[in-house]
C-alpha cells in the first residue's frame, strides 16, 4: 500500500485519499514517539516520506492551509538554541492548523537535568498533543518522553539523533534521484559530534543505500564501522563515484580541543570544493543540514551551485517532513493516554 502511495501522491488532490485511508486506519504509524531513526523499518520510513511528499505539493499552492490538527496543541521545547529547526516545526504545525507554543529554556550549566524533568512535568500538565524537543545531551529527549503522556518528537538530542533531519534528507534524495536504495552516499566532516550523521546512517542503511563516512581520524568515533558504514580519511578516495555528498557543520570549538589544528588545514584536506567534488559522480548531489560555515567545510561556489546543491530544497522538505511527523503521530495519540 505504501508503494502505490508513492507515485499517487505527486498529485495534491490525492492528499484527501491518503488522509481518508489514514483516518480509516488502513495506514497506521506504529510508534507513539519519534525519538530516532534507529528501530524504524523501511516501511515506516517510506510511510513518513510518502505522507511528506504530499505536503510538498500542497505547500506550493497559494491557499494551502489545512485543518487536520485544528484544536491540537504543539509545544516546541528547545533547551538548545535553534532558529531553523524550530521555525520549520512551527510552520509545519501552523500549516496543519495546530496551536503552537515556542519555549526556549535557557540551560544553566549546573542544573540542566532538573530543568528538564521539571519542565516536562509542568508542560505535561497542560495536556499538549505533541512536544517537539531539542536538548544538548544525548538521551535527554527519551528521558523526557518517559515522563509525559503525549507524543514526543526528537528535534535533536546531543550527538545521538536528529530524525527529522534524516527524513528530510531522504525526501530530498528520493525526489532528486527517484530512489534511495543502491545509492552511494558520502557523509563528510565532524561525524564524532554529529546527530545528523547518526540518524542518516540508520536511515540510509534501512533504505538500502551504501554509506561512506569521510573525516580526519580524530572526528571518527570509535567502532563506528559496526554501524554498517565504510570509513575514509581522505576526501578524494572517499568521494569516488558517490551519488550524494552530505556535508556536516564543523563547530569551531572542536579546534581548541585538539581535533584538528586549524580551519585552513581542515578546509585544505576536508573542505568540499570543485576539485574534490570532481571525484564524485558528475551528477552527484550536494547536501548540508545547515547552517553552513562557508570556507570551512564547504566552498561558497559549491554551496551556491544550483545545479548540484540541494541545500535550499532540503529546507523546503523540512517543513513537509515535519508536517508528516506531526500528522502521523497525532493520529494515534489521544490526550491523556498517548503513551
Amino acid at each position: 500500500m505504501v508503494k502505490t502511495a508513492t507515485c499517487a501522491f505527486r498529485k495534491a488532490s490525492l492528499l484527501c485519499r491518503f488522509m481518508s485511508e489514514f483516518a480509516s486506519g488502513k495506514i497506521r504509524f506504529p510508534h507513539s514517539h519519534l525519538l530516532g531513526i534507529e528501530g524504524l523499518t523501511s516501511n515506516v520510513i517510506s510511510l513518513l516520506l510518502d505522507c511528506a511528499e504530499n505536503f510538498v505539493e500542497h505547500n506550493r499552492q497559494t491557499d494551502n492551509k489545512l485543518s487536520s490538527l485544528s484544536g491540537r496543541t504543539i509545544i516546541n521545547l528547545f533547551f538548545e538554541e535553534s532558529t531553523r529547526t524550530r521555525t520549520s516545526f512551527e510552520l509545519a504545525a501552523k500549516q496543519l492548523g495546530a496551536n503552537v507554543i515556542n519555549m526556549s529554556v535557557a540551560t544553566s550549566s549546573v542544573k540542566k537535568g532538573e530543568t528538564l524533568i521539571d519542565t516536562a512535568m509542568t508542560l505535561n500538565a497542560m495536556h499538549p498533543d505533541v512536544l517537539v524537543v531539542r536538548h544538548s545531551e544525548s538521551g535527554a529527549v527519551k528521558l523526557l518522553s518517559e515522563k509525559v503522556n503525549c507524543a514526543v518528537i526528537n528535534a535533536g538530542d546531543g550527538r545521538h539523533e536528529h530524525p527529522t533531519q534524516a527524513l528530510l534528507d531522504a525526501l530530498t534524495i528520493r525526489r532528486r534521484k527517484g530512489h534511495i536504495s543502491g545509492l552511494l552516499v558520502a557523509i563528510c566532516g565532524d561525524i564524532a559530534h554529529s546527530r545528523v550523521a547518526r540518524s542518516n546512517i540508520h536511515l540510509l542503511n534501512a533504505m538500502g543505500a551504501q554509506v561512506r563516512l569521510i573525516a580526519p581520524k580524530t572526528l571518527i568515533p570509535s567502532s563506528i564501522a559496526k554501524m554498517g558504514v565504510e570509513v575514509f580519511n581522505n576526501m578524494e578516495e572517499g568521494l569516488q563515484d558517490c551519488d550524494i555528498v552530505m556535508m556536516l557543520r564543523l563547530q569551531s570549538e572542536r579546534m581548541s580541543s585538539g581535533f584538528f589544528p586549524s580551519i585552513r588545514e581542515y578546509f585544505h584536506f576536508f573542505g568540499l570544493d570543485y576539485k574534490k567534488l570532481a571525484n564524485a559522480k558528475d551528477d552527484a548531489l550536494i547536501m548540508h543540514p545547515g547552517p553552513m560555515n562557508r570556507g570551512v567545510e564547504i566552498a561558497s561556489e559549491v554551496a551556491d551551485d544550483l545545479g548540484r546543491s540541494a541545500i535550499r530544497e532540503q529546507v523546503e522538505m523540512g517543513v513537509a517532513v515535519r508536517m508528516a511527523c506531526l500528522e502521523l503521530l497525532t493520529a494515534i495519540s489521544t490526550k491523556g493516554n498517548g503513551t
Binding site: G113, H135, S138, G139, L143, P221, S222, K226
Partner: protein, 430 residues
C-alpha cells in the same frame, strides 16, 4: 552474658577450608566454640538454641570499598542506612572511602565516623585516609597521624592520584608505616568528558567514551612507581582484560601489587547501559563482554585478590538526568553476596574460594581480624541460603538510595540472618 548455640548449621570458613555440618556457640559478643562435634549429644541447659536448618553459617562479609556519604551528603546515605543495608547484605565489616564532606584527611573526621558507627552497633565501619589533602592530588595528607588514628590504608577515593611525583612520594612515605595506597586507576586527561566505555555502544548512543586505555595506562605507570619506591600499591575495581594482565605480570615478577574488582565488572557489560540507563553509569565504566570474562579469569587464577561492593549511593535527583549529567556509581552492599555467588553457581570457582574473596581475603589484605571463624573472636556472622533464588528489586532495598545496576536481575543466594557481636541485627522476613 547469654549463650546462644547455632545448631544444625553448615559451617563454612573460607580461611581454614572448613565446610561441615555442626554447631557454633556464641558466648555474649564472642564465638566461644564451633565444630562438627560440638554439643553432639545435646545442647546444655541455659543455652539458647537457634536452629539453622542446614543453612550456611559463615563469617560476616568484609567489604573493602563503600562510600558512606556521612558526613556531608546525608540525603544520599547515612551511617545508619549503610549499617542497615550492610546487615541485610550479610556484611559485618566495611571500609569507607574518604570522599565525605569534610574529607577524611584529618584525624577528627576519622574519629567522628568511628564514633558514630560504634554507637549504631551495626556493621563495623573502618575508614581509609586520604592520600592528599582535600583529595586534591597536590599535598600529602597526614598519613602517619591518620594511620595512628586507625586508617586502614590510603586512597583518594573515586579520584586517582594522577600526579606521578605525588603518587611516588605517597607510596614511599606511606611505606614508613607499612601502609598501602589504593588507587582508582584512570588517566584523567584520557577519561575527560567521558561517561561510558568507548566503543560501539557509546558511538551509537552519541555518548562520550572513556577508553579502556585510561585504566591500562595508569596501572602500567603506577606499577613502575611502586617498583621505584618499593611502596605497597593496590588497585581498586579493575575492569579491563589488559590492566588485569599487567597486574598478573607484575605479580609474576614478584612485586607486592594487589587488586580487587566489583560485581558489576564480572556480571555486567556495557550492554547494560542500553537506552541510557543511568543506574548502569559506573566508574570505571562497564566494559565489553570480553573484559567481563577476563575479570572472571583474573578471579579464577588469583590475579584479582578480592571483591568489594563499590557501594556508591546516589539520590534520585543525581540519577534521573540525561546520561551525561547523571552521577557515576551504584549501590552494592545488598547484592554483593548474591552476585558474587554467581561465580560459584556458574562453575567458575568452588564455594569456599568464592566466599573467601568477600571474607578473609579482604580482611587479610587490610590487616583486620574479621572474616574468619575463630574461637574468641567477635561473633560477626551471617547465615545464608546459597541456593534461594530472588529478583533484585531496587525499591525493596534497605538503602536510602536505590541506584542498583542489578535492579531486576534474577540472582541466587540470600542472607537469612546477620549477627554482629553476638546480636542479631538482621533477619530475613519470609
Amino acid at each position: 552474658m547469654s549463650r546462644v548455640a547455632y545448631v544444625n548449621a553448615r559451617l563454612l570458613d573460607p580461611a581454614s577450608g572448613l565446610d561441615s555440618p555442626g554447631t557454633l556457640l556464641c558466648d555474649g559478643e564472642l564465638v566461644s566454640d564451633f565444630g562438627p562435634e560440638l554439643f553432639k549429644d545435646g545442647v546444655p541447659e541455659g543455652t539458647n538454641v537457634v536452629d539453622c536448618k542446614g543453612f550456611c553459617l559463615m563469617p560476616g562479609l568484609v567489604d573493602m570499598r563503600v562510600q558512606l556519604r556521612e558526613p556531608g551528603e546525608e540525603y544520599k546515605g547515612t551511617l545508619e542506612s549503610a549499617g542497615r543495608t550492610a546487615s541485610a547484605g550479610g556484611v559485618t565489616s566495611m571500609v569507607c572511602l574518604p570522599n565525605t564532606n569534610p574529607v577524611i584527611d584529618d584525624m577528627s573526621v576519622l574519629e567522628f565516623v568511628a564514633r558514630r558507627a560504634r554507637k549504631l552497633g551495626l556493621a563495623k565501619v573502618h575508614s581509609y585516609g586520604a592520600v592528599t589533602k582535600g583529595l586534591e592530588g597536590k599535598e600529602l595528607a597526614e598519613i602517619g597521624l591518620l594511620w595512628n588514628s586507625g586508617a586502614l590504608a590510603f586512597t583518594d577515593g573515586i579520584k586517582p592520584v594522577s600526579d606521578a611525583r605525588i603518587l611516588g612520594q605517597a607510596l614511599s612515605y606511606a611505606s614508613n608505616f607499612g601502609q598501602m595506597i589504593i588507587q582508582h586507576a584512570e588517566e584523567p586527561s584520557l577519561a575527560r568528558g567521558g561517561v561510558m566505555n568507548s566503543g560501539e555502544t557509546a558511538t551509537r548512543l552519541g555518548l562520550s567514551g572513556i577508553p579502556r586505555e585510561a585504566e591500562i595506562i595508569m596501572v602500567e605507570r603506577d606499577i613502575r612507581l611502586a617498583e621505584m619506591t618499593r611502596g605497597r600499591l593496590h588497585f581498586a575495581h579493575l575492569s579491563t582484560s589488559d590492566s588485569i594482565d599487567v597486574v598478573r605480570k607484575a605479580k609474576a615478577r614478584g612485586l607486592n601489587i594487589t587488586c580487587d574488582t566489583a560485581p558489576p565488572y564480572f556480571a555486567l557489560s556495557e550492554i547494560a547501559v542500553g537506552d541510557y540507563r543511568t543506574f548502569a553509569k559506573l566508574s570505571p565504566p562497564l566494559r565489553t563482554d570480553s573484559d567481563r570474562l577476563a575479570v572472571i579469569e583474573g578471579l579464577k587464577d588469583g590475579t584479582i585478590d578480592t571483591i568489594a561492593s563499590d557501594h556508591a549511593p546516589h539520590d534520585e535527583e543525581s540519577k534521573r538526568l540525561p546520561f551525561a549529567n547523571a552521577a557515576f556509581g551504584g549501590v552494592g552492599l545488598e547484592t554483593l553476596l548474591a552476585v558474587t555467588l554467581e561465580l560459584f553457581h556458574n562453575g567458575h570457582l568452588d564455594l569456599l574460594s568464592t566466599l573467601k574473596l568477600i571474607t578473609s581475603a579482604p580482611s587479610e589484605l587490610l590487616g583486620l581480624k574479621a572474616g574468619r571463624l575463630k574461637k574468641g573472636s567477635p561473633a560477626d556472622l551471617t547465615l545464608i541460603d546459597i541456593n534461594r533464588g530472588w529478583k533484585v528489586d531496587a525499591d525493596a532495598m534497605q538503602s536510602i538510595s536505590k541506584n542498583s545496576p542489578f535492579d531486576g536481575r534474577p540472582v541466587q543466594g540470600s542472607v537469612l540472618m546477620t549477627i554482629i557481636d553476638g546480636r542479631v541485627v538482621f533477619e530475613h522476613k519470609a
